[in-house]
Symmetry: D2
Subunit: 366 residues, 4 copies
């Protein structure tokens, strides 16, 4: 099926494979009048590039974005914005080995079962490079949200057993540490932990978190289009994510109602909550508090350590996967989580403009 389209009003369609000619996204339904240039998008793409630190792949991916349509005289026109990134770093090498067997933890087997064959070069469409289109679109969504006073921030919450101390949270730190952690102490410990795992030719999992501040109450829709339901889909659709939590997440299962309910009170004449166990969403609709989402990410499945698997001739074999793989997915996936969250929230805000007759009368009678 058409699985590469996301959104109702702000609708994106991504395309491209790891080792194809290019990757990209078409954004259809972007409101007209947004000032937009390539560097607005490039800033986000640069955050998903492999860094220069010891804990990322040594591959270089330039990922320079080109705006092909939808912007005129520096502003979006309301028509489709086509964004493209040419693949330049893909080394032309012999793939005959990975073509012949199923890598554990990867989608090789399932793509073969579904489609009858697969583009085996670097994982094809199931590669993490697929997220280039998501991040390019997310950059546009974030730029709009900023104009509405809404901020979307994702960062690394934990790597293996090392968890960030959220009392020391600093947004600037998230953007400068190799781990995308929000404080330097945990970052240092995590780098050490990662280097050790890398030395063992193994890989490591982790947890990333995203918070949305400034979101007004009333965003999201009942029943199936709940804001948290759509966030869960958006985040779970990122490769390697195996769990999604809203607010206190799994912990609520061991709570009493008296502990878990957030009391309401009045502050500066406004209704606010005294706590935020709910993560900013009640009944699928934002409550004006900070929205908090967490994603648990499996270790990079490509490891050099020996693994048992089968080849396409039906033989059981042992493999050692070569290549320049990140020992952890999380730090580069943080900006993908930020993008998917921004896309989801923006779309819900656009849809929400049609929720009351009085809004419609105001709009068309003025």
């Amino acid at each position: 099926m058409a699985g590469s389209t996301y959104g109702t009003i702000f609708k994106i369609t991504t395309w491209g494979e790891s080792h194809g000619k290019a990757l990209g996204v078409v954004i259809d339904g972007c409101p007209a009048g947004l000032p937009l240039e390539e560097r607005d998008i490039q800033r986000y793409l640069d955050r998903r590039k492999p860094g220069t630190s010891s804990i990322t792949t040594t591959r270089r991916e330039e990922d320079a974005v080109e705006i092909l349509s939808g912007v005129f005289e520096g502003r979006t026109t309301g028509t489709p914005i086509s964004l493209m990134v040419r693949n330049t770093a893909q080394i032309s090498r012999d793939y005959s080995d990975i073509a012949s067997y199923y890598r554990p933890g990867h989608a090789d087997y399932t793509y073969d079962e579904k489609y009858g064959f697969r583009d085996y070069r670097g994982g094809g469409r199931s590669s993490g490079r697929e997220t280039v289109g998501r991040v390019a679109a997310g950059a546009v969504a974030c730029k709009i949200l900023e104009q509405l006073g809404v901020q979307v921030w994702a960062y690394t919450r934990s790597i293996g057993p090392i968890e960030a101390d959220m009392d020391k949270f600093d947004r600037a730190v998230c953007l400068s540490t190799p781990t995308a952690m929000p404080e330097r102490e945990a970052d240092a410990a995590a780098v050490e932990y990662l280097e050790k795992a890398k030395g063992e030719t193994d890989s490591v999992g982790g947890c990333m978190e995203c918070m949305v501040s400034g979101l007004p109450a009333g965003i999201g829709d009942p029943v199936f289009e709940k804001l948290d339901a759509n966030l869960a889909k958006a985040i779970m659709s990122i490769g390697a994510v195996k769990a999604v939590e809203i607010g206190d997440g799994c912990k609520v299962a061991c709570r009493k109602g008296s502990e878990n309910n957030d009391a309401f009170r009045i502050e500066d004449g406004k209704v606010v909550k005294t706590t935020n166990h709910a993560g900013g969403i009640l009944g699928g609709i934002s409550d004006g508090d900070r929205v908090v989402v967490r994603a648990y990410v499996k270790p990079t499945p490509s490891i050099f350590l020996g693994q048992s698997t089968v080849n396409q001739s039906g033989e059981e074999i042992e493999v050692h996967i070569k290549g320049r793989h990140d020992p952890i997915i999380v730090p580069r996936a943080v900006v993908v989580m930020e993008s998917m969250t921004a896309l989801t929230v923006l779309d819900a805000m656009l849809v929400n403009m049609a929720s009351r007759l009085e809004y419609m009368v105001d709009f068309y009678q003025k």
Copy 2:
């Protein structure tokens, strides 16, 4: 927005409020030729009724389903199946109190912010009664899946601190215990725990799990329509769910790649996995193994214990919520999880029939 429609080919639209005239669902896109009668659906609705045990509400909800369209001479015709349940048990009482304030942990405040006012009787559309339509549709989906050899089973995994021992799993037990737990020892302990909480006029959270057996490999789609992404949305859209896990879920964040990857091997000439950390899904597509999904559910927010909140006049007040509320949501939500899982899996299977040109040629050339 139109938040009450779900699915691409097998598309359902639910409607109805807690204290309205009726609740229901329209299923559009159900394949023609399925033998269907009301008792097929009633069986599932009966599982979400309050039981007669000490741990459920004393409300009675008959919830007798009526098939209004789409079935002729005992079989589905391919046209919309309209299912309706009349509300009969709703006691006509004075709602002026709950109309006037915002119940903590409920959607009262967010609905007011979104729509300008709300149907406050029993929670209106945000009530758990909204799931009547989901379960009625889920019953139809399950009946189709059975014919395809696919079984969807949900049950209670834990209640507060009491967890079921999965080595003693027994499907028949799930269907007969008041807690919907799969083994009798945990059930007994959980009932005791719940009675204590009920005595304290408090409520309790829990965890439910769903497994899908017999699902062929190749179901689900890349990128945004991944099977796990759609399951996450489907399950997170159930009121009170705050976290969704696939396979080993959150645990993967603390694993090494060498621990978390599932090796492939050959068994009876077929490719199988030696473990199932992945929960039956790789790259968003089913791998032929059992699909495992888990949902963490918050405690019932309606409790008699005193809570701080605000009323619509903007005053801070303390409330004691009266009424016949379940001390826990999970046991009655299990069949809702089963329904949402079945709807998601069935829709993915229908869509998958169009995934290869050879399937199309086979279909139209024969």
Copy 3:
């Protein structure tokens, strides 16, 4: 497939067969705050009832609508509005004859080919009674449009060779003549023509037209979601419609550019067109002028005159279709056209609220 859902924001799902228990529609995405009661809808349903004149069927169809959900204290809540009409007039008779053969001009054969069997009672889902749900939803759409100053009027333009003189157009006349023609002279001639055809046990085709006044410029979207494209789909989806025109329609094919272009000029400081060949739509987007749509409707296919056909045993037979059939479809279809037009225009207006960033900033910053 799920063919019974229509609309993006204001989304309707209709259900029900000619001789089933009931027919209905679920409206999801209706803005909150619209005053709505059953008689608002009944007024529209009454217009599609068979009349008492000589030119309609002698069947009686009460078609009393019931609002089952989505309205609280007299206003829409923003959640699904479920509307139902019980079937009461369906005579229990022996259908074994029409079950056994394919009526010319009907969907009997095509439904059998698609679904393997069909609900043959009165045409099942392919009956004109299917439009009950469309009209009930259309009544709600029209009520909203009125509040926005938009009027949607459909009427009979011609019956067989008899065409209405549009210079004598009178809306009140449309609503009172048995033919739904907008002037009495043509109405009288058409009634005579119809009675003659009825006497010959034959049937007659015709043309209906719909105009939308008060629609602001800027409604509709580029490329595939053009306002005229969506109107064409909406109107062509009404059974028996075989052609749809916008503005001057087919006539443009014989025109020169210099004849067909509508010049712009300034009137009271506003941009207006001097003519309206375009029918109020340029590039798929409304231009502020009156929108004009026309639909050409085939004669009622059920006639008593002898026809050749085949039965399900594969034998060629001659049939005389009995029953109380209208000799013409148009007069009762006019309100269906009005409904489908209103639904399409309203949905485009809702979607349009998200078309500019400045609208979004205005909405969320105030």
Copy 4:
């Protein structure tokens, strides 16, 4: 709104403006396994290029297509196929004149009203060049349909008053005449007529027709997703089309039922119709006969003859539109109609595979 996406399973998203960097389309949901190379698509794009005859613009448009993704080792992989055509022929000239006023018959005014400003270079997104993406996608749809034995052929039916004699229909002639007419005599007369209009610096309208042969019975869905409804939308969405007919179209309005019904009979053991007034569709579902669709196209609105209009300063002015414009739209739009028809029919065929339970059981049990 997102107006540039079309289709349910075979879903296309087009992008690009007349004078932007490039135009393109993303096809998502194309079945895996189709052999595809650039020349398959180029063949169709070449048919919408301006020709070398006297009746087309003297602009040159190379329109060389590039496949950017979704094809591996010469076959489609089931993932998005991104197709791009770089704009090379766009002359960099001064647009300040057409930027300042509204061209009659164009979308300048309506885009300004909707979006607040517009890309005025060559019409921007409302230009006929937008159809590059449709045709590129249509070529892929046609290639699949051919493998299923379905042929889609469009051609010019009439130009101004000159109508083709369908008894002399020759597919090869359609592809070789400058007018895309199916017989040489009408072609010659039409060329003469067009040259005269061109000499008068005026333009001309016309009619195009499309037939679908080999389509099995049972394709299309009830109510809103009728095959004819979707064809009407698809064809009306082509710029300049003002009317769409199915089968005998407008003519049915003057017919009697006894004249218009198509009788069924048995031929070689199969049910067939003796006539085809219905144009191959009954109740919205294909009946196995040839599908016939007709579109009426207005004259090119850009003419040099003097026209009255207004400028953005609100002054009434007279304009003479310069530039190299085709004197007629039809011949180059024929392949667009063919593409939109193919896309619609293919999508309906893909969706139809899920219409019966027995199909599903067959598919998954084998």
